[in-house]
């Protein structure tokens, strides 16, 4: 052994590019997506959908295009993320198409348009952002932008109220949910702020009943950012997003400061806040009652009941794509898409789905672990937590584990803003993972410095 290798941790591991593995998985993912589309057509109408070839070609072109962009701009990026996301997206499109066939709506075409836009933005992120640490310079800008975006739906004339929540804006017939984009921006803002102030947050300050309270001037700006966004969401009656932002902030604070006390304080705050909200707000109360006993009033809580019946009917292996009746569940193309999958693919399919989401979270946290700079670490953790919380809230709500709160299932639910925001997040994650998995450059890249080397005189 000529070189004594020093154990400097993970940086000694040479990561391989694994682009071939990505391509292979991508082909399988396309089989999952296109297969679901074909199976839906066969199941509902007994024949392949009319636009089968055009649809397959389009989806394949998107996936291969994304792969080529990754190959060119982020050759060392994680090989699993893109195929997993492609599979989820394909399956989601098929389930929405299934709803379309039953209810004669046109959601799947719209969703395909948004998917295309999402992939384009994904490519743009990889092409334009060559180093994720550049984003750290825009900590406060992104924080401000997030708050402005959250406030937009409250603006008169621009905001739209759909299904009781004022979280949409309508421009030229297209409705958009700015909160989904704000989510991405807030993760960047939190990460940028916490990485600078984490030492002060963790060490300075005084101790109060066993909990280290940081100084207000350290915690202030971020607390303000967070309270504003949370307040806006509460005003807009968007329960799911409030929960998401709360959890996100808490976990990022915990990860940055390494103080478990935050989790205790946060959980207490959450429990008391939730208890208070369920007393004060009627719409929260309805959710809690629907969670405790949905069968008491099958008209009001029909959505949960239909979802539960659907999943029960699906059983272990499901009814088969296109063979069930998921169109009976209200919003089975967006919030309740998981219940629709549970009905048609059964427990087996639902487990696969949850594992796929788990894989996204795992890859994000893995990227954070091997990341060398604190900003990237926090950002990757934040994105992982966003996915984890979102899936937990949705699946937990649908399966009656927790009260139902409206959140989109990433990459599956019908909804353009969520789709493009999540594709951008995947782009950012691939950028970070490319940076951290790239091997250290060859020793002595500065050969031309030979001429100016220090000459030993004595």
């Amino acid at each position: 052994m000529s070189a004594p290798t020093t154990p400097t941790g993970v940086s000694d591991i040479v990561h391989r590019k694994r682009r071939g593995a990505e391509l292979f998985l991508l082909v399988l993912a396309l089989a999952v997506g296109i297969g679901a589309y074909a199976a839906v057509g066969l199941g509902v109408e007994g024949e392949l959908p009319g636009d089968m070839y055009g649809y397959s070609a389009w989806l394949a072109a998107l996936a291969i295009g994304a792969h080529v962009v990754v190959r060119l701009t982020a050759p060392y990026a994680d090989p699993v993320l893109l195929p997993v996301v492609t599979a989820l997206n394909g399956l989601g499109l098929a389930m929405i198409y299934r709803w379309d066939l039953a209810r004669e709506t046109g959601y799947s075409t719209k969703q395909l348009t948004w998917t295309t836009l999402g992939v384009v933005l994904f490519a743009m992120v990889l092409l334009l952002l060559r180093d994720h640490r550049r984003l750290q310079a825009y900590t406060y800008t992104t924080g401000l932008a997030a708050i402005v975006l959250l406030l937009l739906p409250l603006a008169p004339g621009l905001g739209k109220t759909i299904n009781g929540a004022r979280i949409w804006i309508g421009i030229a017939g297209w409705s958009f949910q700015p909160g989904e984009v704000a989510k991405v921006l807030l993760v960047i803002a939190f990460a940028g702020y916490l990485v600078l102030h984490r030492d002060a947050l963790a060490l300075a300050g005084r101790r109060f009943i066993g909990i280290d309270l940081p100084r207000m001037r350290d915690l202030g700006p971020i607390l303000l950012m967070w309270l504003i966004s949370l307040g806006v969401l509460v005003l807009q009656r968007d329960l799911g997003s409030s929960l998401l932002f709360f959890g996100l902030f808490l976990v990022m604070l915990y990860v940055a400061t390494e103080r478990p006390g935050w989790l205790v304080v946060g959980s207490l705050m959450f429990v008391s806040g939730a208890a208070l909200a369920s007393q004060v707000y009627s719409h929260v109360q309805t959710r809690v009652e629907g969670w405790l006993d949905p069968f008491s009033d099958t008209d009001t809580y029909g959505q949960i009941v239909e979802g539960l019946y659907g999943m029960a009917w699906g059983g272990l292996v499901g009814r088969g794509l296109g063979q069930g009746d998921p169109w009976r569940i209200p919003f089975a193309y967006s919030d309740f898409i998981v219940a629709a999958v549970g009905e048609e693919l059964g427990l087996t399919g639902l487990m696969a789905l949850i594992i796929l989401f788990g894989l996204i979270v795992e890859r994000a946290l893995r990227t954070a672990l091997i990341c060398r700079d604190g900003f990237g670490k926090l950002m990757a953790t934040g994105f992982g937590i966003v996915f984890a919380l979102q899936v937990f809230v949705v699946v937990g709500g649908v399966t009656k584990l927790i009260p139902l709160t409206g959140l989109t299932t990433p990459f599956m639910s019908h909804g353009g803003s969520s789709m493009i925001a999540n594709w951008v997040v995947i782009g950012l994650l691939l950028r970070i993972s490319d940076q951290v998995r790239r091997p250290l450059p060859d020793v002595r890249p500065l050969e031309m410095d030979d001429a100016t080397q220090v000459v030993k005189l004595r």
């Binding site: 297969g35 410095d449 030979d450």
Partner: protein, 153 residues
């Protein structure tokens, strides 16, 4: 019926495929050993006509040669060495143009490298701003803010 099970099979083949890629990613990751470094040397030998000179002795310390904190010396055996204005920095610089956690000197095998930690004003070697970890040799001048740091024997 057939389609139902075939589709579930495809779904699970994909899931297991993804997991197996991760598995080899985790356990199959190659720790840099003699084989790896010798291949790297071969590549270098192919690239340059003249063989790369071995470093004349290994550096043992990082010295601030220029700037407000000139003269500061830190032995290299305590890598990773943090350069910055913060209190936890091993090379603590009293330089307004240096970030709190500015850059880091690390070690890979017997090579030392410097890596920018997302500083505001950047880390330079010559006129080139570092965007990734860059190997250091004896006498390479690293510029952070108004300060210059050099590895010495």
């Amino acid at each position: 019926m057939l389609i139902r099970f075939a589709y579930l099979a495809i779904l699970w083949i994909f899931v297991l495929g993804a997991i197996s890629v991760i598995r080899s990613d985790m356990f199959g990751a190659r720790v840099e050993t003699t084989a790896g470094s010798s291949r790297r040397e071969q590549r270098r030998a192919r690239k340059g006509s003249k063989p790369a000179k071995p470093p004349r002795g290994a550096p043992t310390k990082a010295v601030v040669v220029d700037g407000p904190s000139a003269g500061l010396t830190v032995p290299l055996d305590q890598v990773p060495i943090l350069i910055g204005r913060g209190t936890d920095a091993a090379i603590r610089l009293d330089d307004d143009y240096v970030s709190t956690r500015h850059a880091r000197i690390g070690q890979s095998g017997e090579t030392f490298y410097v890596e920018d930690l997302g500083s505001t004003n950047g880390t330079y070697i010559g006129s080139q701003r570092l965007t990734q970890a860059t190997a250091l040799q004896l006498g390479t001048r690293v510029r952070v803010g108004k300060t210059t740091i050099e590895l010495k024997k």
